[in-house]
Symmetry: C2
Subunit: 345 residues, 2 copies
Amino acid sequence: MGAEASKAIFLKQFPAGMPGESDFVEKEIEVPAPEPGEMLCRTVWMSVDPYMRGRMRPDVKSYIPPFTLDKPLEGGAVSEVVESNIEGYAPGDYVVDFLGGWKQYYVSKGERTQKVDPNMAPLSAYLGVLGMPGLTAWSGLTQILKPKEGETLFVSGAAGAVGSVVCQLGKAKGCRVIGSAGSKAKCDWLEKEAGVDVALNYKDYKNAGELTKALAEAAPKGVDCYFENVGGMHLEAALNCIALGGRMAWCGMIASYNNQEPEPGPPNLINVVGRGVMIRGFIVSEFMDKAMEFAMEVAPLLAQGKIKFNESVYDGLAKAPEAFIGLFKGENFGKAVVRVGPDKL
Amino acid sequence: MGAEASKAIFLKQFPAGMPGESDFVEKEIEVPAPEPGEMLCRTVWMSVDPYMRGRMRPDVKSYIPPFTLDKPLEGGAVSEVVESNIEGYAPGDYVVDFLGGWKQYYVSKGERTQKVDPNMAPLSAYLGVLGMPGLTAWSGLTQILKPKEGETLFVSGAAGAVGSVVCQLGKAKGCRVIGSAGSKAKCDWLEKEAGVDVALNYKDYKNAGELTKALAEAAPKGVDCYFENVGGMHLEAALNCIALGGRMAWCGMIASYNNQEPEPGPPNLINVVGRGVMIRGFIVSEFMDKAMEFAMEVAPLLAQGKIKFNESVYDGLAKAPEAFIGLFKGENFGKAVVRVGPDKL
């Protein structure tokens, strides 16, 4: 065996504002045969995630470096090992890593790679509830917010890949959980399937004042813990309703990721002072060493049906830009994943 | 002995925007004789502090309730005990409490009261470096920011009663310290007397972009710890320069206390996510149980001349509104205190 021809998606240019399909281009690349200490992998499922938008800015200082135009995009994927020169990996093994996204084949040195068992869960779940979004949800909740039984937890983007796991873990910990989402179908799912106490369709509220009123009604004792995925009027409402001694985990602010002009922050940050609030921003990579602890807690809940999840499945690598763009239009319901190839060739 | 006539300052109305002297009114009140379990106190020094502006809004939810129009204002004071029906307090004792401000005489039940020794430090210092501002500075630095030797600490409002103590404690802990203040005289004092590495006169910078550039030059490795007293463009610049894993203690945002329309927050809050920043707002009352630990650390530094401080002294109770208003005009240099009466009658 040797080199493989692979389709791969590149950025054509850094998107200005909302990304469009014309910002992406599919090219054919030659993937070299793996050297000693390397393996050749075939992507089966790839993930699209909001944080990738941040990597599509050439000038951002963050834990993750920006993408470049001269290399294929990358991201989380579940892949099959095709050929291996790494001890412990054999053809037919399945792995999750952060390289395999946006391409069909690639060479890996096995860095930041986990083997996964296709018999324990559907392969795509390793990109969602059992993958990075699940670890993100678990980390923000258990390592930052640390809610106590009976406390009120508010989750924005509650029907998304991260938010839906936060909500259900919060319920499992005995919290009153309030979630916001952008459609009636999502809110129905949250209340009827995910067990959320109150789901707010934020499109019913014209501004932060209206959302504040609804949140205050849903959280009569105030919001003890806020899991932030959205920003904008969600953050302002959460700051209005935060309880004395409240905690906030800031995971993302998707509402502003495509702004070309910076959008001002909320006018009520002073509440952080007067109410003694703790805010902690985070990127999941900080908690990679907790992946095992996460799996030990979440896998049984999943097996017992105490955590439910949705997927929006896009078929074929060519659909990856559409799947990614859908993240910012609220079009995906649950985790957005792209099927790049069949489980087995 | 019995009842005492006392001058006292009331709010005439809740100020709209910047407070003016016409928002205050001096009245003569009758202070009753102390009952059993009470003592009569005579205010010697009173404190004016920025947090009081927050109590001059009728609708704010905070750890401290708002003032009302039908009672004298209150606040920190050093007072002499005149008559005591409380065991442990005798006429001639000096106490610090949160009642004695804005009046000449008052009855106290001895709640939230500390005895102070007039021979250990000037009495007014118990309202500044050895009082609530000092405890605020120490708490934010040691209980929230926890700077390590060699880290960079940025302090806004650095020449103020709180900021100046933060800066000097930061130097004592081996930090590189950058302070901002609003005049050349204050910046000179910070660099020459307080030992701050770089003092920035924020009036030299037209906007957050210019302040960011100056801060980035002064903090080439980024800002590890930010002590927030000011808000506005200071917060925006700090968020631009905050290091990965940086920490912020939000103590106040004096720039916006007199806004009638809420002012938007900074547009770069997303940096909190990408850089894994921890923010903690606080009110000093949270750390009252640490007052002893604070005194044990700060008193020796003060005795050794390692902490220097300035005072703006206003003479007479009638000057209290002017002293308070001066806080928001940047007119005070160091702790603003009002001498209400002589040390001894």
